[in-house]
């Protein structure tokens, strides 16, 4: 089942990519149908899910026995919500209308390829396999930005690629460090979770931790490793931004849990405070820099840093202290994973919205707009929902994450939490300012012909925001899945 989730989009990518020119119009329908299949499969996986410390529904295959490399996939309560997010976000982003510059087959093939690689990252239970999928996502994203981007797309794509590739090289060193500490030599993540290879957090464990931390901090991204993000988002096409923010950033925070927290618990505890401080700086810094933006996409990009900082704060708190406060740390870790899902849904929606705005206005500069509510009520309404979601309104998923992380982390780092809740005020200011500048007030003559969202755009945004509302109102079905693993993880630490 899990293998099928990876393979089906991969095969789909091949089929779509190799379509003859005369059949090019088939690319879109084929791609959409293919990308929808993993969503159905994920629901089945979700229904069979039991939960616990170790991953389940494992599928494995010998690959390179001499090196201890295996093909091994499985899910736990941390990865399953992210797999589900991926399964929802990809079909939806692909369905979003975009001027494909006549390269439809290539576009859909790359997106399907990227989808398969993303599933691979979240499902892989072998470090070698994990690394391969990790780097494949970079390749896919590079082409999406470089080919279908606008502005200085090539430069931005290159910056994104080189920067994150640097991170993955740091990770490679970390992987080798871990690998060399195992005996018999193995890349098996399950074994590494069961018996962490570098107990005690000595120099070697610290260096390995550092290697992974650099990779994940770049990917998440947290201050000061974030400067690849704004240009990549600004120049990427709307669906590309949605996938980049919605899925690819999550790989950083997912890595922190999957590898740093689970495989290097002692080193993690040692550096948890430093990590928490970096995340609080990111939370406050991202919000403030975002407040000063006039470019819609840069604004959203910097709020991503705040939200991802919140996720890392929850993770850092979860692994922060020895014993005690088990309940609070569990809540924090639950909140961190909810935060990943919530950010994926809401920020993806915001990026798609900015894509729609750009398609109509060819600018992201917010001060140029005003009063669009009268011309585009559907766009305005959905943006209002997404913006309030971003600022953490109860009834939307982000609030569940905010309150869980803050309440949970307070027991471990009270001062840091007090500093970071201030960001909630700044987030409110910047999102409401954005709404005011773009949608409220008098309508400028220039936008008299501004058109509202079409049916596909509306449907796509609703299918992203509706789950955010469902999670916000009744989060139990999601939190319980996360908690099934998070509880065991925190309990063991």
């Amino acid at each position: 089942m899990l293998t099928a989730i990876i393979l089906i989009p991969l095969l789909g990518a091949l089929v779509v990519g190799l379509l003859p020119t005369t059949r090019a119009p088939l690319a879109r329908p084929i791609a959409l149908v293919v990308s929808f299949v993993p969503l159905v499969l994920t629901v089945l996986v979700w229904l069979r899910f039991e939960g616990g410390l170790l991953p389940e529904q494992i599928e494995s295959l010998r690959w390179i026995p001499a090196l201890g490399v295996e093909y091994k996939v499985g899910v736990d309560g941390i990865s399953l919500p992210l797999v589900a997010l991926t399964a929802l976000l990809f079909p939806v982003s692909m369905a979003y209308p975009l001027d494909l510059l006549g390269r439809e087959r290539m576009y859909y093939a790359i997106f399907l390829f990227l989808e398969a690689a993303s599933f691979g990252v979240f499902l892989a239970l072998d470090l070698f396999l994990f690394f391969i999928f990790w780097d494949l996502t970079l390749v896919g994203m590079y082409f999406v930005i470089a080919i279908w981007g606008h502005g200085d797309a090539l430069r931005s794509a290159l910056k994104f690629f080189i920067y994150t590739l640097t991170g993955s090289l740091a990770m490679l060193l970390g992987i080798l460090g871990l690998y060399l500490a195992t005996s018999p030599r193995s890349f098996d993540m399950v074994a590494l979770i069961q018996n962490p290879a570098l107990p005690g957090g000595g120099l070697r464990a610290s260096l390995v931790f550092l290697g992974f931390a650099v990779a994940f901090l770049i990917k998440a991204p947290l201050v000061p490793f974030h400067t690849w993000l704004p240009p990549a988002h600004v120049d990427a096409p709307g669906p590309g931004s949605a996938v980049l923010a919605g899925i690819l950033l999550k790989m950083g925070t997912y890595g922190f849990i999957r590898i740093s927290l689970l495989m290097l618990p002692d080193a993690f505890r040692k550096y948890a405070l430093a990590l928490a401080i970096v995340s609080v700086v990111s939370i406050v810094y991202g919000a403030l820099v975002s407040l000063a933006q006039t470019n819609l996409k840069r604004l959203i990009a910097y709020t991503s840093i705040t939200h991802m900082g919140l996720v890392v704060l929850g993770i850092a708190a979860a692994g922060g202290v020895l014993g005690g406060d088990v309940e609070a740390r569990r809540v924090a870790l639950d909140g961190a994973v909810v935060g990943m899902v919530s950010h994926g849904l809401i920020t993806a929606a915001l990026f798609l919205i900015s894509g729609s705005v750009y398609a109509r206005a060819h600018t992201y500069e917010m001060p140029e707009f005003g009063g669009l509510l009268s011309r585009a009520p559907r766009l305005a309404l959905l943006t209002i929902v997404a913006a309030f979601g971003g600022l953490g309104l109860p009834g939307l998923a982000q609030f569940v994450a905010d309150i869980s992380v803050f309440v949970g982390a307070f027991a471990v780092y009270p001062v840091l939490v007090i500093v970071s809740v201030a960001a909630l005020v700044v987030l409110a200011a910047l999102f409401l300012r954005m709404l005011r500048m773009m949608f409220l007030g008098p309508l400028a003559d220039r936008w008299r012909e501004f058109t509202d969202l079409d049916r596909v755009e509306s449907a796509v945004l609703v299918s992203l925001l509706a789950p955010a509302v469902v999670i916000g109102v009744i989060p139990a079905w999601l939190i319980n899945v996360i908690d099934a693993t998070a509880g065991a993880v925190v309990g063991r630490l």
Partner: protein, 683 residues
């Protein structure tokens, strides 16, 4: 059971937004509110409670204990006439449906907040109420001002609201639970943090000093929104949360005095602002801060009963007063007290409004009087100084209440426009209404709504009935303080003094300006310049700092990346050159040298060896031909041959001018060799 009073307004909001016929909106909304009140009463009487698993360790709790049992009914009862009023007043507003839907949802959120039995539910209600108030204040969103005002109001409340996140974190860290009951078991430093967080949130929500000015921003919303926001929702939430949770903070020595201090400062400062304001709605806004200040004082002296009683009476008379403001706005086209002379033409409105004014001034037997006296009694019992402060605040409220009524409804203005109009400029409510600058008559629905609220305000006098008061005490904490017999007499005297002062000032034509210089009055009336200070001291520096950070981000941090990338790149270019010039040069140097020598050899081969062979052959041929023709031609032939030879050698020499250096080299070399050979032969 307990869900019904929460979800009925929400369902009604959705129904109104999508389905209900426009003409019946008012009736439908009022009916929904009445049903909500009935369900709330039923739920409160049956002691309903509910737990909701939120996932993981988080559990939401809803219960109707203490003041919640009262507010769950109070909120929809106040909302019914207010929303009905809105449907009349905004009958021709194309966005009426949205207005009514949002008002209903606003009520639903407040019901959620009231029913909350744990801190997460409280935060949920708290933030939802704020969000709906944002949408309501920005109702006239096409104008430039209301969206900005909504933003300012929301941010102020949000700033305090983060206190609840901190409070929740502290309680959970100490007890592992978020229920209100867990506060009882919270240990000391955590309890202090929780108390501070809650107080911050409550003070901002109830528009206490220093957060009061957000109520002025909120004035950009329609009058019914203000009526609801100031009375039973939003602003009431702050006082309500304190009433509900303050008893848990009794062990903290600093908590009571701090609440008293905040309340007292707000009561007096709000009183002064209301007394000097020249804008109808802003007088009421100042009085809201002042009245909630009194409630805070009551909570601080540990008499939540008195605070609850005042919350109830205030809810009715303040919503009544705001509806009156709405009528004034709609019929006179202005809210500026310098120009407002509603006079006898609006006698019904004047009567109803007068009831609200008397309640605000705390004239017995209106309910507002008894709840204020209860606060005064508890304050006097706590400390004579606090008692004196409350007494003074009561006097000021009687003054501004009478002043407002006199200025708004007097037929002949004692005041010429003068200073007041200068102050009033720019604060008028005309802008918020947009289209309603023309005067119009009174609508029956408006009268009915006001009449209902006035009637209830009168009925609130029943609070004085001991049986009712005891029932109220059972739901809260009462400070056991017998009201001294002389207290009511002194209060009445103060009210009479205040009324007389208003009368005298009116006669002298100074009621509007109070003899203050326009600039001073404008500053004091605008919260002593607090909005200016907030803008200059908080908003602008924050924004400037944000812009600074943005530049720092763009230039420095990103530079750091480029700082690594660019030297790397430069080094790479250096390496490329090294590679091209030095290492490659070596290889090419050898290869090129080899090639060049090969080329030379080839040309040597072609020109010299091959040329020699050809030259010999040609000479042989020539010689043979020459010997054949020498006979034929003889001397003549010899002459001809010389001519031909010179032509040929000229051509050959021309051919040598190829421009190819190496060929010249060859020629030079050959020439040199010849010269050397000739020289050698000659010597």
């Amino acid at each position: 059971m307990i869900w019904l009073p929460i979800f009925l307004p929400v369902i009604a909001a959705l129904a109104v937004g999508f389905a209900a016929p426009r003409r019946r909106l008012g009736a439908a909304a009022a009916l929904a509110m009445a049903a909500t009140a009935a369900l709330g009463l039923w739920a409160a009487l049956s002691g309903a409670s509910a737990d909701l698993a939120w996932g993981g360790l988080l559990q939401l709790r809803f219960e109707l204990t203490g003041a919640a049992a009262i507010l769950i009914v109070l909120v929809p009862v106040v909302a019914a006439p207010v929303i009905a009023f809105a449907t009349w007043e905004y009958a021709d507003d194309p966005d009426l449906r949205r207005l009514v839907g949002l008002l209903l949802a606003f009520v639903g959120s407040m019901e959620l907040l009231v029913a909350a039995g744990d801190l997460v539910s409280l935060v949920i209600g708290w933030e939802l109420v704020a969000a709906f108030s944002w949408a309501l204040i920005a109702h006239h969103w096409r104008a430039p001002k209301p969206p900005q005002a909504a933003l300012e109001a929301y941010l102020t409340v949000r700033f305090g609201g983060v206190g609840l996140f901190i409070a929740a974190g502290a309680v959970f860290a100490s007890t592992g639970s978020l229920n209100y009951a867990a506060l009882a078991g919270t240990s000391r430093p955590w309890l202090d943090v929780a108390a501070a967080g809650l107080l911050l949130a409550a003070a901002s929500k109830s528009a206490q000093v220093p957060f009061s000015q957000w109520l002025f921003s909120a004035m950009e919303g329609p009058a019914p929104v203000s009526a609801l926001l100031h009375s039973a929702t939003m602003v009431a939430a702050g006082a309500y949360a304190l009433i509900r949770l303050a008893p848990f903070f009794a062990p903290l020595g600093w908590f009571g005095p701090t609440v008293i201090a905040i309340g007292m400062i707000s009561a007096l400062a709000g009183g002064v602002v209301a007394s000097v304001q020249t804008d109808f709605k802003r007088v009421l806004a100042g009085s809201t801060t002042a009245q909630y200040g009194l409630m805070f004082v009551a909570i601080g002296v540990a008499s939540t009963t008195a605070a609850t009683a005042h919350l109830i009476t205030h809810a009715f008379f303040k919503s009544l007063l705001f509806l009156g403001a709405g009528v004034a706005l709609a019929t006179a086209g202005t809210g500026n007290l310098a120009h407002l002379r509603l006079g006898s033409g609006k006698r019904v409105v004047a009567v109803f409004f007068g009831v609200g004014v008397l309640a605000l001034a705390a004239v017995p037997p209106l309910g507002g009087a008894f709840s204020k006296e209860a606060i005064l009694a508890a304050a006097v019992d706590y400390s004579p100084w606090v008692g004196a402060g409350v007494f003074l605040a009561g006097f000021v409220s009687a003054f501004y209440a009478a002043r407002l009524f006199t200025l708004a409804f007097s037929v002949v203005g004692g005041d010429p426009g003068g200073m007041g109009s200068a102050v009033g400029e720019g604060q008028g409510l005309v802008g918020s209404g947009g289209s309603r600058s023309t005067a119009r008559g009174l609508l029956s629905g408006e009268v009915w709504s006001m009449g209902l609220l006035a009637g209830i305000s009168v009925l609130m006098g029943l609070l004085r009935v001991p049986a009712v008061w005891r029932r109220l005490e059972q739901l809260s904490v009462a400070r056991e303080a017998a009201e001294p017999f002389w207290q009511l007499a002194v209060s009445l005297l103060a009210i009479m003094v205040a009324f007389t002062a208003v009368r005298v000032l009116h006669r002298r034509g100074r009621l509007l300006s109070l003899g203050l210089a326009p600039y001073t009055q404008a500053r004091v009336a605008d919260w002593f310049g607090a909005p200016f200070l907030a803008r200059r001291g908080i908003a602008e520096p924050t924004f400037a700092f944000a812009i600074l950070l943005r530049r720092f981000d763009d230039r420095v941090i990103d530079m750091g990346v480029w700082g690594i990338a660019e030297p790397t790149f430069a080094f790479a270019i250096l390496l490329r050159r090294f590679d091209d010039r030095v290492i490659d040069m070596g290889v090419w140097g050898i290869a090129r040298a080899a090639l060049r020598s090969a080329g030379r050899l080839r040309s040597l081969d072609e020109r010299i060896v091959d040329g020699a062979v050809r030259g010999v052959a040609w000479a042989t041929m020539r010689g043979a031909a020459g010997s054949r023709t020498a006979d034929d031609l003889g001397i003549d032939g010899a002459v001809e041959w010389i001519a031909r030879a010179s032509w040929w050698s000229g051509r050959q020499v021309r051919r040598l001018q190829t421009g190819l250096t190496h060929q010249y080299y060859v020629v030079v070399v050959v020439g040199l060799v010849l010269v050397l050979a000739v020289t050698a032969v000659a010597t």
